[in-house]
Symmetry: C5
Subunit: 353 residues, 5 copies
């Protein structure tokens, strides 16, 4: 089971709020990047430590600290102490088996979301992104180190971009929007897979299609489990009245919410399609089997009376007049053709062939 | 998969609010039509540009700008800037993969609805209609260029029509009512298809019926996905207290809401009927198969003892007294008729035939 | 599909509120009856026109105008204009494909309900009854002309009846109660049908039972579709605070509501029973089939070694000592009885018979 | 269908509130018992008429009138008139086909509950108990005359019992608690039945187990139908603010509510278990069938080549050298053992046996 | 049925609040432990009686009385009287068949939760823990005597632990958190079981896998029944405004709530996986069966025409010219190889093999 969501039981019994990294793979080569931007400027620089970022506070710039590839239990603890972040939030950041969630605190907002990317058509890769939103700072924590945020950074570098003029809540929105956009990409991949299975199913149903459909169904279980809570998360954001969420940005969150509803609708219809394909597969397999059995049975049935007849004239009775007729044997051969012909006609008329 | 709802992933990563046309086919020959009407007058004229329409504001007439076949990213941007329409709304207008929705803004209301029309009995064509309702103007955006709105225009030209005396909200209602009326037309077509399948099913269940039922079931998935959100849309309209929605018009929106509930009820019962038909088909196929197998097996079973008997008298023992009896052979033939008759009687009495 | 609920698509495109009669059969011999009653008097008289009824207003009597068999588009229009009834209500009265509903207006209440009566055990006949309740008048519109309201009229004629002392809302309640009582009659008929199928199922499962169960299941889809919305209707009545609904009458509406819940519960359990019967039928059919196949296969299996044996002694080898033994042939016959007996014993012990 | 819930249709058309006894069997030997109790005293006496009880009001004692085996339409009417009980309540008392319900009136509360008792493991007996709770009196109406209330009476006779110090609402609670306790007894019986079926299922799945499981499933439909509404009833009691319901007693009602939730949970899990057992039964039947068919088919298959061989040497060609070899016949017999052995080995290796 | 939830019916009829121990096994060697702690100190001592604990109240220390292995009906009664605990709560403590619940009283809070531990991969052991939370005392009642609370005690002994500085509500939270952590451990075990079944299923589907899957499904019914109510319990805690629940601790309860949601999500996806495995198993069994039957049928079919042929030349007609041809017999043997080869080629081309 490649896709696992449970919290390793090693943690059971530890006091809540104990900071231990729990995740798939401790990243070997993580890095921390700081982006400082406002309407006038936008600069990017690497950091070696999360706390360095705090030095730039109060400069009138918004700070976005991107922490990718986490080997940073100590740093998280330090920054948590510095910014008075609740220990449970710190724990959630380090434990990458969270359910997507949104939590409001006095000074900051906390998001956990899941990106889903299809590595190939039937395996889906999950990644957790934790987002801490302060009035002037945003921290993002990821496990991977790829360029997921590339598009957002490009936009930030564009001096006319709306992001440059709006607050940290808009940056948080941009991240959520990116994540939901990836769901659509995933849905597209799923759609292609479904289409190709449908084509194959019409052409020739084979045993491996069944395995493929089951795998797809299995992957859908995990995809739905990751995406469905996003609806609640975004509903909670919309109902939230934190001063950190600008009224103007709320319109954008409503838009992501609509997208999430749409992607969930789409996944629901895919599930129906997949179940329909399973029905078609099973029905076509049983159809083929029935067809084979029927033909073979008819074949056997035709020979049964013939075999009886040849048995009759193999008997050794003294008084069997037919045995001595000159044309008996050729006539019997005629019968050997007429009886099957008659039976086949009968079966055809009854619709058995 | 002809019916696709997902947002092309090409958009993933672009800043939200970027105006790109996303849809099935960029219309080659779209046109813009302006209708100006009030209780005294009703005039129709073609426009080459959306912004031309603004010149007619303030004349005491209501304006209905119909934009059909969209190749108009620039125009939408211009009119959006002119009327201060939210960028996300503009984006939704150009992206024709929206979920049906209703949104309230200070100066305008925004509807997205889906018309469904059956091109033939088993394929359903979707079209998105976006409606922007200002106090004195209505913009409608469509992908197709056919005469969908013909009936509404005819009514507008009738000087006694209620539409001439009521506001833009009533025009919006008329459009929604038209869309929901088309759902009933679609439901009628579905009902005819279901009826014809039911007739065929009783006459002679064949393999292609199974495919037809599965196709119908598949199409139902997409129909439901397009229609179900309309319930929420119309509920939101009814609960809305925007000054743009007249109290008098609300009664009419309640009526469309009732119609939507009715059409959803109808679709639900169709789904039950389709599932029932699937059960009947599968059961009748397995019934027929069983019938064939049973008859052939009985047929084989009757010959088995006979074949054994002829084998017995084909043996070459020196001392087999029957072989030398004069009437043995004719008596055996008698047995060849009596044994099957006896077996058939037994099988009939046991209800196996 | 005898039971159809959709609105004919001919209406699509017409302005809402256009008064066209839409229904199963334009009644050929409808009639209008007026009942005038109060605590002192109760009189019944035929009318030729709905508007005649208005002349009796203000006499201190309550008026009940029963319009049965509708060929009265003009009259409905006239009375609508006279009493300022909303055009959509008039449209709903004439269109007999409504969903059960309850609507409150300033001067009147509007109910649409569906009576269900079983013509025979497997076909259910629907009729729509529209009820307009003013403070001093009640209009009822029906398609049929039979004596559905006979019981209510009898009670009205009884000078001690509670109806004579209460308002028009109580009359409306009496009509709804009558309709729901008919649901119980229908439920009784369904129960009898289910019982008789259950008995038949235990006795001998036959193919036509499958068809009967499927028909029953199909009819249940339509019955549920007609009855389920009554729950919402009666909930809406109970939550309504219109001055037309007396507090005292509300208790009675709560009672009808309870009855509706009960009948829906009952239908739900019938649905479960029907599904259970389907399972039993399918399982018993497959059981019988298996039984037949098994016995026949065992039958064939017993003869197989015998046929082999007779074949052995039909061989023409020069050196086959058994052929010349005197008791070989009788001994073989003994074997022909012992081998089947042994096999049968073995099969029995293995539980295959 | 022994368990029937519908209201006999004979009642259809009668005015609501008409007092007619509707129930399974008019009790032949009912009786009325009065218990008078307060903290100081507790007396029990038989009554011949309900109205006699009223004479004891105002004595500072609480009155509990137990009416068992109802042939008392007149008495109910009389007491209803005396105490101004709503006619619909009187009707509900006499009609024993009610849904469990709770209704609040100014002077009294009205409960309808259903006791369920298993007469044997697969048939459940329903009884309706109607409870009228006044500030100083409780009326209970039952169909049966057995000692259902024995435990409550014993407690009342105990001078230290809490019941002696609390009001009529506590007595009502005690009755509901008794009813729900019987649900647990029923659940225990069901559990035993399920356990014994599970054991039997593992030992040897037989056709009558299928019938037993189906019967159990059928009975579950009716049990759920009777118990599920209790949840709403007790929720309504908890939300009720009638002065007749003491704050202190509410805690007890919350407790019965918890019990009801628990019993519903338990029934839900039983339903899952029963469905699981059905799956296991069906799968094991088909497994056994497959096993039998497979063995017999293999058996037949082994003899097929042998029968062919003996046929070969039964042919009458002039030139068949083998026929004249001395060791041909014994060698053939050797083959008759080697071929089956080879085939069996092959089938075993392929996993077909 | 090892896992039983119902309340033994022996209790039916007893007055509510009667203190009788109801549970799986009266513990033979229970013990009571008292922990006294505050920010300065933490001491543990054994008690022989619950009431002894009361002597330590008012010392400024928080008291945690752990009662493990209950044979203590009298003690519970005594402590209940002393602390004025509601009799129904005492009853719930002694009856270990409760549904998880949370109840608020003026002076104390009452929790019932269920720990689930897998003894081996397919059997789950339930234990009920009742928690009484006063402002300065916490009572925990368990059936088992193992070291479940070991981790919590260790943390209490750590002078820097957050528990030492927070109130009894935090201790209650710690217990709930421990219980929910054990659900994750259980989920891990389930996941391992599912994984191992999946592997086995791919390798070779055997009959005992079906039993294993069914057992797993059965156990899931009970697990879900125990865990699902925790959602309501924790929701009720979060909505509660008792002064006993500190605002700061509420954040922690929200965290356990999130964990519960996550574990329920996980169980839901396991249920889907298990159902998927069942489908795969059934399909693979039927596939294998079909495969066997098909091969054997083809095998039989190939010999049928051969057996017919050898029969032909076993006939005893006087005039059969082939019998006297010299090469007839060898040619026939050639045919015996050609006919099967032809048939096999035909079947292969038709895809039947």
């Amino acid at each position: 089971m490649a896709t696992s969501f449970t919290q390793p039981s090693a943690k059971a019994g530890l006091p809540p709020g104990t900071l231990v990294h729990i995740g798939a793979k401790p990243a070997t080569a993580g890095h921390i990047t700081l982006m400082r931007y406002n309407s006038a400027t936008c600069q990017q620089q690497p950091l070696t430590n999360l706390t360095e970022a705090l030095a730039y506070r109060g400069s009138g710039e918004l700070l976005w600290v991107q922490c990718e590839g986490m080997d940073i239990v100590d740093m998280v603890e330090a920054i948590g102490a510095e910014l008075q972040v609740h220990p449970l939030v710190l724990e959630d950041i380090l434990n990458t088996h969270q359910r997507p969630k949104f939590e409001e605190f006095d000074d900051y907002l906390f998001f956990v979301v899941k990106t889903l990317r299809s590595t190939n058509s039937l395996k889906v890769e999950h990644e957790q992104i934790s987002v801490l939103v302060f009035a002037d700072m945003v921290f993002t924590f990821r496990e991977q180190t790829d360029d997921l945020f590339h598009g957002i950074k490009l936009r930030l570098e564009n001096p006319k971009s709306r992001m440059r003029f709006l607050g940290t809540d808009y940056l948080a929105y941009a991240i959520l929007d990116l994540v939901v956009d990836h769901y659509f990409t995933l849905a597209d991949t799923l759609e292609e897979t479904i289409e190709s299975i449908e084509v194959e199913l019409l052409a020739k149903p084979q045993t491996q299609i069944f395995a493929t459909i089951q795998l797809l169904k299995r992957e859908m279980v995990f995809i739905r489990k990751a995406i469905t809570p996003m609806r609640e998360v975004l509903l909670a954001v919309q109902r939230n009245e934190s001063p950190l969420l600008n009224q103007r940005t709320q319109l954008f969150f409503r838009d992501v919410f609509d997208h999430t509803l749409r992607v969930i609708d789409t996944l629901d219809s895919y599930r129906d399609l997949i179940n329909g394909m399973l029905d078609i597969y099973l029905s076509s397999v049983s159809n083929r089997m029935n067809e084979v059995m029927k033909v073979l049975t008819v074949f056997a049935t035709i020979f049964i009376p013939l075999t009886f007849l040849v048995g009759v004239y193999g008997m050794n009775f003294d008084y069997m007049p037919e045995l001595h007729w000159k044309w008996a044997y050729p006539l019997l051969w005629l019968l050997f053709f007429l009886v099957p012909a008659g039976l086949l006609t009968l079966f055809k008329r009854k619709g058995w062939l």
